[in-house]
Amino acid sequence: MTEQAQAGDWVQIHRIVLTPEQRPANLPDETRAVPLEMRTKGWLITKAATLGDEVTIRTAIGREMTGRLIAVNPAYGHDFGQAVPELLAAGDDLVALMRDAKES
């Protein structure tokens, strides 16, 4: 992944919103043990930066935000996954069932 970013690059930043101590008490333990984190994307305003640097960005609607640079134009990452053989087989079964229904 690109480690360097220039002003004008589309980047993602990360910020801690609440540390574990700042989070309310009524949370499950495993949630309360970790910080509340935020990620957001925008155009880099800081002239040049390396991943991990504190930077300023301008978001899609023009707000300025600061945070730690974590990615330069990150991939969305989600996809269609793999076919699910159990569902493919279920689909075949249903089609076969309908054909039987037509014959009977």
């Binding site: 043990a33 509340l36 159990e86």
Partner: protein
């Protein structure tokens, strides 16, 4: 300098909400429990026809009603002779942002623009974010969507990642948060920083925007069968879908149509748990929202929630995850329609319910949603399998949320699981009683009866049993 600690921001909640809604809730907050619900809905200054006109101008609504003949035929094959109601689906995926949520966003943002707001903010990890972003783009309003997306390892479910991408494509700023109910804190801070409109899912506008969906169902069914449907099934989470649809049905006189809610059973998974977060394979339309919102609606980002399902819901059915994935496959293979998960929860319920009903009766599943990357069973079950979830064919009754997904071996294994409506209703009355000094006046008892569809005497009986 403004104190932005968690406690300080939450303490300013009421004033932040008031200035960000452009609505005066004061008259509805006089009593801790009761208020005039219809008067609150009356804050929407448009007739039903005007709402429909606003939606037409927003390219929203007037979606096709499709008869699912193959699924009906399969249901009849499984049902006793003479049973097997006709199943129809309202193809809401055809709305601009790919779901019925465009209806809610259209009216809310029409109001925001008219009230002079420059931008809108929405707290949602669902289709509503894309709907608000899409409608904001049309109206040249700034849009910020605050989403719960990642666990503490930075891992997000494919379906929620897709919803974030969709918001970005419409030009929204997307704040992606890790797991925690303090999303509401971040949301309030954004409202305070920007002075933008709170495009909540739970304002009267967001509910009145769904009413045309109920109206269209009746009109379209009358054209096909000569009458209103016998049952309408709504996937239920926060309650706005069912409430708005039911109100629309009533407004055009479909008083005998049974209104049924359906949710995926995720019992046992904690909604605020960093660990359980990615063990849910449905990100909305599940019991984690559906049950608490039915039992107590006023847990939202508005002073009074306009989505109040117990006023309208006749029956509440639970489906297993495996059954919904199975019906998604069936919809693709037998009807040639690939659609996203939301409406397929209701479709799974409709398929089983049809087998209980007579073959001259009709059921309408009132939504579909779009199916982009991340929304398919393939994406969700690949994600689940990689996280150790046991996925196989089997009796869906044996499925354990967070541990297994059991895809039926035969359609006859699907079944209806009724939530005890009276338990939900009595729970609401008990919660209300805890908020107000006893004895509750008759006006409050009448309010609770309307809230729950119980009689006043039933409400008194619950109160006296406390």
């Amino acid at each position: 300098m403004t104190d932005n600690s968690y406690a300080a921001v939450m303490a300013r909640k009421a004033e932040i909400m008031l200035s960000s809604l452009g609505l005066d809730y004061t008259p509805f907050m006089q009593d801790p429990v009761a208020f005039d619900y219809e008067a609150m809905m009356g804050l929407v200054p448009y007739t039903l026809d005007q709402v429909r006109e606003i939606q037409v101008q927003s390219a929203v609504g007037k979606t096709a009603l499709i008869e699912l003949r193959q699924l009906t035929r399969l249901a009849r094959k499984l049902a006793p002779k003479g049973k097997g109601a006709r199943i129809f689906v309202k193809d809401e995926a055809a709305n601009p942002s790919g779901s019925y949520k465009a209806r809610r966003a259209a009216l809310s943002l029409h109001h925001a623009k008219a009230a002079g707001f420059k931008g809108v903010v929405s707290a949602t990890s669902g289709n509503y974010g894309a709907a608000v972003a899409s409608q904001a783009a049309k109206r040249d309003l700034d849009c910020i969507v605050v989403q719960e997306v990642f666990d503490s390892h930075g891992i997000g479910q494919p379906e929620i990642l897709e919803k974030g991408r969709a918001c970005e494509i419409y030009g929204a700023e997307v704040m992606q948060l890790s797991v925690g109910p303090e999303l509401f804190y971040s949301f309030l801070r954004v409202l305070e920083d920007t002075g933008y409109f709170n495009a909540s899912l739970y304002t009267p506008f967001a509910i009145a925007g769904v009413e045309p969906l109920g109206v269209e169902i009746v009109e379209q069914m009358q054209a096909v069968t000569g009458g209103a449907p016998d049952a309408v099934i709504c996937t239920h989470a926060g309650g706005g879908n069912l409430t708005g649809t039911a109100r629309g049905l009533r407004k055009v006189g479909a008083l005998d149509t049974q209104v049924i809610g359906a949710s995926v059973d995720l019992t046992g998974l904690h909604m605020a748990s960093d660990r359980d977060f990615n063990r849910k394979h449905f990100t909305t339309g599940h019991t984690g929202f559906g049950v608490p919102f039915a039992g107590w609606p006023d847990r939202t980002d508005v002073p009074r929630n306009a989505a109040r399902v117990l006023r309208y819901m006749d029956r509440y059915l639970l489906l297993k995850q495996g059954e919904v994935f199975y019906m998604t496959e069936a919809l693709a293979r037998l009807e040639g329609m690939e659609r996203g998960p939301a409406g397929n929860v209701s479709l799974a319920a409709a398929f089983v319910l049809a087998q209980e009903m007579d073959e001259d009766q009709t059921i309408v599943v009132q939504e579909t949603e779009y199916a982009g990357a991340g929304k398919q069973p393939s994406a969700q079950l690949t994600f689940a399998r990689a996280r150790g979830i046991d996925i196989r064919r089997g009796d869906p009754d044996l499925e354990r949320p967070g541990q297994s997904v059991l895809i039926p071996e035969h359609p006859s294994q699907m079944k209806l699981r009724d939530v005890d409506m009276n338990r939900l209703r009595r729970g609401l009355v008990r919660k209300a009683a805890a908020l107000a000094p006893a004895p509750l006046p008759e006006t409050v008892i009448a309010f609770l009866a309307a809230e729950t569809q119980l009689s006043c005497q039933d409400v008194r009986d619950v109160l006296s049993s406390l």
